[in-house]
């Protein structure tokens, strides 16, 4: 089922949680709502579910207005951040709940309920836990049971609120992959909320990046990561180095140095914010003229690449205190440069992304 939200606005007291959000969720996709806490992503999810009513705007399911449909009639599957399993019921009863509360006419027979619950337990690979209570399960198991319970009522859309938020790093990685596989199997339109960019980029077909109740950018995971549309999108997705400077012809003046600009839509003399990923920065040693003067503070070896931490002079990022930069190098590059802590070097980049300073 496709979902569309149109111009949704929601306030809690004076706090504006959603400020005119319009989005389209095509059928069968797995979409991540990504953003920092308080950006309105969970509120949007709850509005789609019908657990929260918007002050303004509409929610359309398959093109039909569902704004005034009660949460019970929306046929959504919702997985809560802390699972919200019924603590006094066994796993089996938890999953069967949605079937048992159906009105007399449409309620399946006891045998059907048992069979359906059995199928779902098999789907989440936890059949051996059927008679346990939620408190006796690990976090990852609870999460999967919560998912099975949501799927029991054959929802037309699956909504997951921070599905991996409460799990430790290893289980989280496993579950991510598992959720992706499950989605490929079921092809049910799914939306999940996360504040973890890796999670969003790894699992979702499409990422919707939100900030302060508005949508910053939406697109495929790759597009959003490689072509951030705004300064916020750039700084939120992945490790990033930030520079504040002024455009001067074909270069950017930053503190006591200049970095050449290859692509820029900023006018000459404009104050701008520039970004570069750690692997897009280069370290120049010797008598180089271009680049920003910095000092090597640490060299970190780990894995196939090395990271170099550098300290700039005060003012290079628009703040009073000296700024720290991070550069990612291959082992080969590192040994060629032969960097020593305390060594003065210059920093430059061929791929600076420039945004007007005011719009940040």
């Amino acid at each position: 089922m496709s979902i569309e939200v149109q111009d949704i606005r929601k306030t809690f007291g004076r706090f504006v949680a959603l400020d005119g959000v319009s989005l389209d969720f095509p059928t069968g996709e797995l979409i991540a709502l990504l953003g920092p806490s308080g950006c309105g992503k969970t509120t949007l999810l709850r509005i789609i579910a019908g657990l929260e009513w918007p002050d303004k705007g509409r929610v359309l399911f398959d093109g039909h207005d569902a704004s005034h449909r009660d949460v019970r009639e929306r046929q959504v599957g919702f997985v809560f951040q802390h699972y919200a399993l019924f603590r006094h019921m066994t796993v089996l009863e938890n999953i069967a709940f949605g079937l048992r509360v159906k009105p007399q006419g449409s309620r399946p027979s006891e045998a059907d309920i048992q069979r359906r619950v059995g199928d779902l337990l098999e789907l989440v690979q936890l059949g051996w836990l059927a008679h346990r209570y939620p408190a006796q399960l690990s976090g990852g198991q609870r999460q999967r049971i919560a998912l099975a319970r949501a799927l029991a009522v054959e929802p037309r859309v699956l909504l997951l609120d921070e599905p991996f938020g409460a799990l430790d790093a290893k289980v989280r990685k496993e579950l991510r992959r598992w959720l992706r596989r499950l989605h490929d199997e079921l092809h049910i339109t799914s939306i999940f909320v996360t504040h973890d960019q890796d999670e969003a980029l790894e699992v979702a077909d499409r990422v919707v990046l939100m900030n302060k109740g508005r949508i910053e950018q939406s697109g495929t995971a790759q597009a959003v990561y490689e072509h951030p549309a705004t300064a916020f999108a750039y700084s939120f997705l992945g490790a990033v180095n930030r520079f504040a400077g002024r455009v001067d012809g074909h270069s950017l003046r930053i503190g006591g140095g200049a970095v050449p600009l290859c692509e820029s839509n900023a006018a000459d003399g404009e104050e701008v914010i520039a970004f570069a990923r750690p692997h897009e920065l280069h370290i120049l040693t010797g008598e180089a003229q271009q680049g920003i003067p910095v000092t090597v503070s640490r060299v970190l070896l780990g894995g196939a690449t090395a990271r170099v931490e550098l300290t700039g002079s005060a003012g290079s990022n628009g703040h009073a205190e000296p700024q720290h930069f991070e550069v990612e190098l291959t082992r080969q590059q590192l040994s060629d440069l032969d960097l020593q802590p305390g060594q003065p070097v210059r920093l430059t980049s061929a791929r600076l992304r420039v945004f007007p300073a005011a719009r940040e």
């Binding site: 579910a49 019908g50 657990l51 949460v71 019970r72 959504v76 599957g77 919702f78 809560f80 802390h82 919200a84 399993l85 019924f86 603590r87 006094h88 709940f97 949605g98 509360v101 159906k102 209570y133 408190a135 006796q136 319970r149 949501a150 029991a152 009522v153």
Partner: protein
């Protein structure tokens, strides 16, 4: 008032505290605190309780039984049970409603409502009784109107029930609010999303989660409803055989120097309290058993 589920939690904590050399108190501190609390318990709680039964039976079983089956005593017992039978279910419903309102909705003046629920605890029971006399008494606000219609509240059974409901109002709500706050709304929301109606949600999710705390609140409420003296004394009028509850009957007998009879009725009241305590302990134990799996293994 600790929640039913947490009441026994301290026992396990104590054992851990004791086993740890770093937190263990010196023997003399332990001995002193222990003898102090046990001594206090013996002197102020156990001794009077024993005294009640000894005094009641001093003149033998026949006198004891006679004091209990005498018509005025039977009428007092009946009135006490009737009052509890009305006040407890009413406060059960009020308590759930109040706790539900406070924990599931956000609204202005919520903090004030929580404070008002405690009002019967902070106000002297005598004042509570007086309030009803001022409102429903012959000289009160509604007195003339009630008189015209032949409805008698003060110095009659309705007044006693009203005063008791007022005094025992906080018990159920107070037990439920912290528990329901801790449990949050997630499970109820999950039930709604899965298609449960409001009533199904309440019966299948809310009620099972709060049942032990609810029972605990009801037991405390009942104990107070049967034992209330001050507020009831003001509105009762002490009409023998008509508006006397057990506590009032005990006082009257005592003032008439019928000590054996007074203590006999008092012993019955004490017995009811002991049964209540036993049930309460059982409920606490059950609550801690069911609360146990809630802690992540």
């Amino acid at each position: 008032m600790a929640g039913a589920a947490t009441a026994l939690g301290g026992l396990r904590g104590a054992a851990r505290f004791e086993a740890n050399t770093a937190t263990r108190d010196p023997a003399w501190v332990k001995g002193l605190v222990l003898s102090l609390s046990l001594g206090f318990f013996l002197l102020f709680l156990l001794l009077p309780l024993i005294a009640v039964f000894v005094e009641a039976l001093r003149r033998g079983w026949s006198v004891y039984l006679a004091a209990l089956i005498e018509p005025d005593a039977v009428s007092a017992i009946r009135l006490t049970l009737l009052t509890a039978a009305i006040a407890v279910p009413l406060n059960l419903v009020f308590g759930i409603a109040a706790a539900w309102t406070i924990t599931k909705f956000d609204f202005r003046g919520k903090q004030m409502l929580i404070t008002f629920i405690d009002l019967p605890f902070s106000v002297s029971p005598v004042i509570a009784g007086l309030i009803y006399v001022l409102v429903f008494g012959a000289q009160g606000w509604f007195g003339p109107w009630l008189g015209e219609h032949g409805i008698k509240i003060i110095f009659a059974v309705p007044g006693i029930v009203l005063a008791t409901v007022f005094v025992t109002f906080p018990f159920v709500a107070r037990e439920l609010i912290p528990l329901m706050q801790a449990q949050g709304r997630d499970e109820e929301e999950a039930a709604l999303v899965l298609g449960a109606s409001g009533w199904q949600m309440f019966r299948k999710i809310t009620l099972p989660n709060i049942k032990w705390a609810l029972l605990y609140g009801v037991i405390l409420c009942n104990a107070r409803a049967m034992g209330e003296f001050g507020a009831v004394s003001v509105v009762s009028g002490h009409i023998r055989g008509v508006t006397n509850t057990m506590p009032l009957h005990v006082e009257i007998l005592y003032n008439e120097y019928q000590f054996a009879a007074a203590f006999a009725v008092a012993s019955l009241l004490a017995l009811l309290a002991l049964v209540t305590l036993a049930v309460k302990t059982y409920v606490e134990w059950r609550a801690s058993q069911t609360a146990q799996p809630g802690e992540v293994p």
